[in-house]
Amino acid sequence: MDTIGSLIPTGMGALRFAVDDIAVPFLALFAFLWLVSGAHAWATTPARERGRLFAYYVPSAIGGVGVAVAADAISFYLCFALMALPAWGLITHTRSAESRRAGAVYLTLTVIGEALLLAALVLMATGGDSLLLSEMRAGAAASPHAALIVALLLGSISLKIGALPFSGILPLSYTYTPAGAASALAGASVKVGALAMIRLLPADAVGADWVSAVMLLGLITAFGAAVMGVLTTTPRAVLGYSSASQMGLVLIAGGVSLGDAGATALAHGAIVAFALHHGLAKSALVLGADVAAHAKGRERTVALCALALPALALVGAPFTSGFVAKYALKDAIHLLHGPVPEAVYALLPLTAIGTAALMLRLFVLIRRETVGDPLPARPPVAPWALVLAATAIATWVWPAEWNRHAIESVVSPDSLWTATWPALVAIAGWQAMRLIPAVVRRLDGVVVPGDVLVGLTALLGRFDDHPRSTQVAATPTSARVERLRTVLTATEGRLLAWTTASTILVLLAVVLVTLALS
């Protein structure tokens, strides 16, 4: 009986927050990024629009920070929602039609994701006797609904991190968002998916098939998103698909974490590593792209050069954060055996080719891009610089297990080569593409931000803006009723005629007598 009692949320007292080992890196990352991005956003937003922007930005940031330290199901769900829902206001800040559509898609998918999350939380809570995430996760393996729980969680996480086929959600949400906010979304918000993997995905709850399937999905997302990103036409969209691609890698780690406990520990390391690395690097790219786009002449060149650092980090070049992250991931995958993990392990370096191509495309697009709306002030450089610095250092100096192997092997030629050749392949391929300009031109912009989700946009547009009003239909029955009235009234009239009526009565008397005598 007592076991159920703790399931009942007892007021705000039930909300538990804890700064535990898992929370620390995410807390640091989220707090830092939301602050710095906020500074950028503050500086680049016209004063009269600041209120509107920060009305959404601040709750979202609070939710983001909160979700990192949330220790129980309710507070996790609360902070998750608090972070995700107001982001709609950031995406639609420009109030353009496209942004509204993007907002609608974002909101729809987010809400679905939350619903899945809630269902999973409810099911996990029911199996055990506690609402604490750690215990719920531990107990989930024993739940009769373990597979369903995992499926629900994966669904929710996939929506958050933009795994295929939902990759479009990320480019959609970055494309129309002001740079500062986009930086927070891309750097921090998406990483909540990674946090959820660690906090919620139970180890050893489902079979190896699941592990393989999730890993494959991650790998496909990594490649697929990269391909789509290359074919888009705005820097933000490229960055969005890049995020999806990178999060595909995280999803591979998530898949690994579903395996036995040993692999889980390593996988969690990889996830944290990727979260730190990608969060900082992507934020740096978003902010940098904004700075570069509004810079001129030499400043622009300098900015583009500085932008190369996070770009290289994403590719996983030696001495960058990406190098650390990939090492951690490889270590985790290496632990698993079987055809799929081994295949994933073998193909993993190739993802770097895609990322490299994305980065090349990004630079091309930034250079092509003309300055958009005049800003009240030029984008500040300081926040960007801070993020750049953090990108360069954070993963290397973070006191944890997951960067030890990378630090140890950073100078080994083998690893250097492994980290470098994909970029070289990508550059080679890029040059090769120049030989077929017609094809390139045709491919340019084949993918619009949001890809398959755009169809959903159209669908949602109906619901959102001007839903068809359902009018009360004029009563078509009235004519029929009228006819009925005529018939009935006429019948009654005939019945009332004296001769008919009195004859009927006499006959009735005869019938009654007959009945009485029967």
């Binding site: 005629a497 001769t499 008919t500």
Partner: protein
């Protein structure tokens, strides 16, 4: 064969005749007369059946008939008064709730 049956049979015939008249005749006064026929029929039946008693006729049916006659007279008077008033108000001699017999489709 017993004699009371003659009265009774006559009464029954009168009653049936009156019934037909009340049902089918359109003229209002015809209807009143028909109803009186019915009444007479019932009275005949009553008297006739009362004569089955041994040792002289049963007085109860006779008393009933006397009362019945008064009631019938009252009804007839009322009927005539209404018909008269109705005629002077509408000029009609029937209830006008159905087309005349000859014009029925």
């Amino acid at each position: 064969m017993t004699s009371y049956l003659i009265y009774v049979a006559g009464g029954a015939l009168l009653y049936a005749l009156g019934t037909y008249g009340l049902l089918a005749r359109r003229h209002l006064i015809h209807k009143v007369i028909s109803a009186n026929l019915m009444g007479s029929g019932v009275f005949l039946i009553l008297i006739g059946l009362g004569n089955r008693a041994e040792g002289g006729p049963d007085p109860v049916p006779q008393a009933m008939v006397l009362t019945g006659i008064v009631v019938t007279v009252a009804l007839t008077a009322l009927g005539l008064a209404i018909i008269k008033r109705y005629y002077s108000a509408t000029g009609l001699t029937n209830l006008d709730d159905e087309p005349p017999a000859g014009e029925r489709p």
